[in-house]
């Protein structure tokens, strides 16, 4: 077995999977994509300069893999656009929530679905910052952005999630 693979699997496999899962919200797809990440990593490991940590480097590749997938799926436009459509947008994702995410807490379930309404960039920032607990500077490294852009995007994402959550909660309250 390739030693690079072994090292990455042992140290970071679950992180990459977790990251991809929340980005695509589909177990099988996340499994495929995580393999694609390894393939790209094995082809370019010698280009890893050690400027960033191995984990941020891996996650930046994972992000690119996911974005390429979205492009292929040709749905990126809609996802990127969802930001502007809050009012009329109803959550279309009727896929069953995977067993891990079967949520005792209804509010968290709602939030999980609301993630779909973030743009891809916003979702990456949310995953890095809140789900993977990475710092602003690590997130900036993954995205190749400035820290201020990460902050702005994070702020927008939270604002967007809040707006949508409050709208849905209010709706449920009425029923």
């Amino acid at each position: 077995m390739d030693s690079v693979f072994k090292e990455i699997y042992t140290k970071h496999h679950q992180d990459i999977f977790h990251f991809l899962f929340y980005l695509v919200k589909n177990r099988e797809l996340a499994e495929d994509l995580v393999q694609e990440v390894y393939i790209r990593v094995l082809k370019s490991y010698d280009r890893f300069e050690g400027k960033s940590t191995l984990k941020t480097w891996l996650l930046s590749i994972a992000r690119n893999v996911a974005i390429d997938h979205f492009r292929k799926e040709n749905t990126l436009k809609n996802k990127l656009f969802s930001r502007t459509d809050w009012k009329d947008y109803d959550i279309q994702d009727k896929r069953p929530i995977p067993e891990e995410v079967v949520i005792e807490n209804e509010t968290i379930g709602l939030l999980y679905r609301c993630l779909d309404l973030c743009t891809v960039d916003q979702r990456v920032v949310i995953i890095c910052r809140y789900i993977q607990d990475l710092s602003i500077s690590e997130t900036a490294e993954i995205l190749g952005w400035t820290e201020s852009k990460v902050k702005t995007t994070q702020h927008r994402a939270i604002k967007a999630l809040k707006k949508q959550m409050n709208r849905l909660l209010e709706k449920e309250g009425e029923i």
């Binding site: 693979f5 177990r27 393999q35 502007t84 891990e100 999980y112 809140y130 607990d133 409050n166």
Partner: protein, 406 residues
């Protein structure tokens, strides 16, 4: 259910509580899959695909050659001539039919007509969608920022109050056999102005084409709405101004094959001459939470006047100042079309969004006055955002890069 609206921190707290999800596969299983995938790639390299075209193409050429060669020996020369003429006539007719189809369907809804035009101009391939930049800083795109096989398409988008026409740029990949106008039309067909916070405007109510001399021709629908008032006319002409970026100096305007008339803003008969230099200033304009740099409504004699105006808002047009109060400078003309901006000793440039927008606005304005480069002297800072102030900066290719088409 909760009554009080949730706060930012409550959302953040909930996000932390999202359950962690694990891949249940073993290391060996994953490794085996990857090995298989790599094996497959090895046995079916992607490059092979292209060569498949060669054989059928050669066969087609050979068949055509034989057909013409054998055909011409069987048919009398005269007949051959007649057939060619017939074919030509038929082609001419069908083209006429096609172009007149949308013009005839005036009673259908606007959207329908637009679709007709859209599919007519690019029926051969599927529409590619625009990937919009998430970057909150939608600065201009500069000569060193794109490759030779890419083209910058700039369109002027009228705002929702129909006061400003904001140029936005989209980077497209070039393909063989397409003219620059084809890319403009692709973008016009796919851009969603309303989602960007602008007024729905494109594609044009008519058909764009390139004349043999390389001029742009716009064959307008009979019931087009561009000549309704002085506002619609001026917005329309300002939208045509973007063709300046493609070195086009005038647009031929036709309606039913005869020159189209516009009488509200001067007397325009069949041709709109694009002013060679816009000579305007650039101001901040906000749409859907994004900031753009938009040309102001006035033309200025001198660039000093434009830059001075850019310190103040134009409240009638919702335009905000693009030059911060804290930045003071003097200007000079350098050699070879260079504008020299000398920052005063009292002003301190900070590497932030505001300064980057100021630099971008100055560069756009300089371009509109015919300058090639701008040098920021005495800046006492090397970089502001993507701008390196140590050397003169070339003026941008297109304002407000909003996205790209791959």
């Amino acid at each position: 259910m909760k009554k009080n609206p949730m706060s930012d921190s409550e959302i953040a707290e909930l996000l932390h509580q999202l359950p962690s999800v694990k891949d249940h596969r073993s290391m060996h299983e994953v490794y085996k899959n990857i090995e298989n995938q790599l094996e497959q790639e090895k046995s079916y390299p992607v490059k092979k695909k292209k060569k498949l075209f060669l054989l059928p193409a050669l066969a087609t050429v050979a068949v055509l050659f034989l057909a013409i060669f054998l055909g011409s020996t069987l048919i009398e020369p005269n007949e051959l001539y007649n057939i060619a003429e017939d074919v030509q006539m038929e082609r001419g007719q069908s083209l006429e039919e096609k172009t007149s189809l949308p013009l005839d369907s005036q009673d259908t809804a606007n959207g329908m007509e637009r679709k007709e035009f859209g599919s007519f101009s690019s029926s051969k391939e599927e529409q590619k969608s625009i990937l919009y930049e998430e970057n909150p800083m939608r600065l201009s795109i500069y000569p060193n920022e794109f490759a030779d096989d890419q083209l910058v398409v700039t369109l002027g988008l009228p705002d929702q109050n129909v006061q400003n026409v904001v140029p936005v740029s989209i980077l497209v990949m070039k393909q063989d056999g397409k003219t620059w106008l084809d890319y403009y039309q692709d973008v016009m067909n796919s851009i969603d102005e309303e989602l960007l916070g602008f007024a729905e405007y494109y594609p044009y109510q008519g058909e764009l084409s390139l004349s043999e001399e390389g001029n742009v021709e716009l064959n307008l629908m009979e019931n087009h709405s561009y000549d309704l008032s002085s506002t619609t006319e001026s917005i329309f002409f300002r939208s045509l101004d973007v063709f300046r970026n493609q070195k086009i100096s005038s647009v031929i305007l036709k309606q039913n094959a005869s020159p189209a008339d516009f009488s509200h803003t001067g007397d325009i008969h069949g041709e709109y001459a694009i002013p060679s230099l816009a000579k305007t200033g650039y101001f901040l304009f906000e749409a859907n939470d994004y900031l753009y740099l938009a040309p102001g409504p006035e033309r200025y004699e001198k660039i000093e006047d434009a830059l001075n105006a850019m310190r103040n808002e134009i409240s009638t047009h919702n335009l905000l100042p693009s030059i911060p109060e804290s930045i003071d400078f003097s200007i000079n003309d350098g050699q070879l079309g260079q504008l020299i901006i000398r920052i005063n000793d009292q002003s301190k440039l900070v590497d932030n969004e505001e300064t980057a927008r100021f630099i971008d606005a100055v560069l756009l304005t300089a371009k509109d006055f015919g300058y090639q480069t701008v040098s920021f002297d005495n800046a006492r800072i090397q970089e502001v955002g993507k701008f390196n102030l140590e050397n003169p900066i070339e003026v941008p290719i297109g304002a407000n890069l909003i996205g790209e088409v791959e």
